[in-house]
Structures are given as C-alpha cells and as structure tokens.
Symmetry: C2
Subunit: 228 residues, 2 copies
DNA sequence: TTGTGACAAATTGTTGACACTTTTCAAATA
DNA sequence: TATTTGAAAAGTGTCAACAATTTGTCACAA
C-alpha cells in the first residue's frame, strides 16, 4: 500500500499498484485476494477495486480457482509454456526489427548496451541498475517493431513471466553472460540479418529459461508462505 | 437485448451478450458504447456493465479513444497485423499438434472434415452450417495443443479477428478451396510432419488474409450502397 | 466418532445516488 | 453575423448500503 494520488481514475491507480506488488513479490504467488480487505487497505470502495482485479485476472496475473481469487502460482510447466510463447513471439518480433529498425533506434539501443557494460565492469556493480538496463534493452528492441498487436502480445506474456523476476534475478552471476547474448542480438539486427537475429534471441531466451528453472528449483526447497 | 436469466453473475451474462453482438455485427465497428444506455437496455445497473465493458476492452474488442468507448474499428493495417499474429501463433500450435495429437483426436477432426465435405457437395449446401464446421475444425485442432498459454493467445487473437467474420464470410465461393486447405493441414498432422503442417497452415492463413482483404476492399467501395 | 442441520460470519454481486467532468446548445452580447 | 458564456444534459467514476451466496462452526443426535 502506498500513497495513491489523484488525476488518474482510482481503478487504474490500484491496478498499477497491485500489479507492482505482485511483480515485486510483495503479494506472494498463491496468496488470497479479498476485495473487501484490499479496498480497506487502499481506503477506497470495492467498485474501482473490483475493476482493477478483473483486469489483472484477464491479464493472467490473478486466477480464479474455486473459492476466489489468488495471485497466480505458476509451476514449472506453466513457466515452460510461457517461456515458449515468449520465444515464439519474440522470434518474430526480432525478425521484423532486423528489417525495420532505424539507425537512430539502433544507436539508442547501443547506448544502453554500452552503459550496461560499463556498469557490470565497474567496482560498485549495482545489480539493480543492471537489471533495469536489461529491461530497457528489451523494451527498446521490441518498440522498434511495427506490428502493434504483436508487441501487445509479447508484453502480455512478459508481464506474467515477471512474477518470477524477483525470484530469478537475485542471481548476479549471469550478468556478463546476458550482456554477451544481448550484444549478439544487437549485432545481428544491426547487420539486418533476420535469421541470425532469430537464432540469437532463441539462444538468449533458452538460456533465460534454464536460468529460471535453476532458480525455481532452488526456490522449491524453501516453501515459505507469506501474505500482504 | 435479449432475455438475461439467472445463475451466472450479471457481468458475465452481459459480457457474453455484448461480445456476441459485436461479433455478429449487431454492434457495428466504430459505434459508441455508453454504459448508461446499455445498462438501461439490459435493465441492470452500471456496475456489472462496466465490468463487462472493461473485460471487452482488455480483450481488444472495445477501444478507448478520447471521449469514450467504441467497438474497435479495425482497418486494413490492423487486420494484417492480427492475421500475422495469428499465423505466427498457429504455426507453432500446428507443430505441437503434429507431435502430440492422439489418434482419437485425429479421428474426431476427420469426422468434421467428412461432414463438411458432404455438406458442401450437397444440394441445399447450408452456408452457415459450413462456417460452423470450419470453426469446429480449427477449435478441435487447437485443442490438441498441450501449451495452454499458447492456446489462450491464439484464441485471443482469433476473437478479435472474428469481428470481420460477419463481413468476410458472406462469400460462399471459397468453401471448396478452404476445405482442401483444411485437408492438407489434417493430412500433414496425421503424418506427424511438423514442417509440412506449418507450411499448410501458412498457406491457409495467407489465403484467409487475401480473402479477407478482398472483402474489406469491397466493403470500402460501398460506404454508401450496393449489394452482393 | 460421524453426520447433520441450522445459525453466524465472510465474501461476492448488485443497486441507486451523488460528485465531478465534458459536451451541447441556445440566449445574450458585441 | 459571429462570438461568448453559462446553464442544462449527458457521461464517467465513486461510494455506501443492501442482497445473495458461500463458508465456517458448533451443538446435538445417531
């Protein structure tokens, strides 16, 4: 719960806040969602809150087992399915991007990569900052794609996958590896080589899946539950 | 407006009814949606209605230009984008299906195809029935796929594309052509040939796109008046 | 111990009213 | 005539209360 201010409608504000809480793990996977309780926390009525919950449900971040709403508890199989969907979609995105990206856009992306590299090799090596830069890289690449509907689908899948982010990305050991993969992707779209770009993204996302599964296995040991 | 009965929550009933009205063209693309008016039509309050509208909006059947909700008015570019997305996704679906479909499932699909063929070659040749059988074919094929998330994405894209259905499928001239394409798809998944199946679905959906564009062009001429 | 049934509590679904914003449109004025 | 303006209308967002449904629980009988 945080300071909700005005301007945007309430249902949108709470939507964003709840979503954020889910993705950062403040609302743990599997925990019950009770509209009345949340409404009280946010000090608003249930009407806008229900709209927010509905949106999250349709987007796949909440699910409706018998007996109410829960934060999705994704298992290994579901994780695989989502990763596969992401791969199918991003492969097509990257093919389009390799054709369509303007030089300006490429330069922008390159800047992020350079920034990222500097951060990784520096002393302080701010892990959180690096994660942000990685996200920025993907965002910039995807936004070069002209098929808006395709972008929407990719973002949808990614947003569900982000539930794992808090769990997965605690591991700093892969930062360099990931940077190299990003560079390969960037180089192939710079050279307008669609198929090499597709291969590069396949390798990257496959590795992501492996890295994710490793974390999931680790996480499976401690089955601690918490709420709020 | 039709008889809404009990059991399911109202927001779900109206959701289904409005969606149906959009997909059958009773609510024309581009028309304004005003929550108060609809609520009065359905004789319910605005709260459940708003939830239904929100859901339709998230699913992409309604859109929010400044000054309110409208039924999505898809243009040729958007139609292309959606068709492309459908192709990307269904290609992967069909690859999985070619691996995973059980013999029982294949037999079920075959039955629909035979039924379809008989209907097309018969005298009465009920066009509506044929359309239903075509839809059934796709539904059965997709349901063989084990990746539930992928199925969800495909259905989402297809549901938006269905807005055109009423416009496009008035044309009976392609029934045989479509049946042949379906047979090709079926044969290749029966032979467990992933790549041939992917090619077959690509051809099918590409043709669908062409058929759709033709109808769209026709529709564009008679902004005023003209008959089939 | 195991049902069972009925009462209480919790939660979701729905309503009508109200606050606020935007649009419309016509009278008033330059 | 053209422009301003300002009040009514229309629409959205929000609330608090109520209705309906589900869930929990506990005394009591078999």
């Amino acid at each position: 719960m945080k300071g909700i201010t005005f301007q945007k409608p309430l249902y949108e504000q709470v939507y964003e806040d709840i979503k954020d809480n889910i993705l950062t793990g403040k609302l743990a996977p599997g925990s019950r969602i009770v509209s009345g309780q949340l409404a009280e926390q946010y000090q608003i009525s249930r009407t806008p809150l229900r709209e927010a919950l509905r949106q999250l449900q349709i987007e796949g971040l909440l699910e409706n087992d018998k007996a109410g709403l829960r934060v999705v508890k994704i298992d290994a199989k579901d994780f695989e399915e989502l990763c596969d969907c992401r791969l199918y979609l991003e492969k097509e995105v990257i093919r389009l991007v390799a054709e369509e990206a303007t030089d300006d856009q490429l330069q922008e992306i390159n800047k992020v990569l350079e920034h990222s590299e500097k951060e990784i090799n520096s002393e302080g090596s701010n892990h959180k900052k690096i994660l942000e830069l990685n996200a920025e890289f993907h965002r910039l690449v995807i936004d070069c794609c002209s098929n808006k509907r395709l972008i929407q689908l990719v973002n949808q899948v990614r947003s569900v996958l982000l539930i794992y982010r808090g769990m997965i990305l605690r591991d700093e050991s892969h930062n360099k590896e990931i940077l190299e993969e990003h560079k390969m992707i960037f180089n192939s779209i710079t050279e307008r080589d669609k198929e090499r770009a597709a291969e590069a993204i396949e390798m990257h996302l496959t590795n992501d899946k492996i890295r994710g599964n490793k974390m999931l296995d680790q996480g499976r040991q401690d089955t601690s539950e918490k709420s709020l």
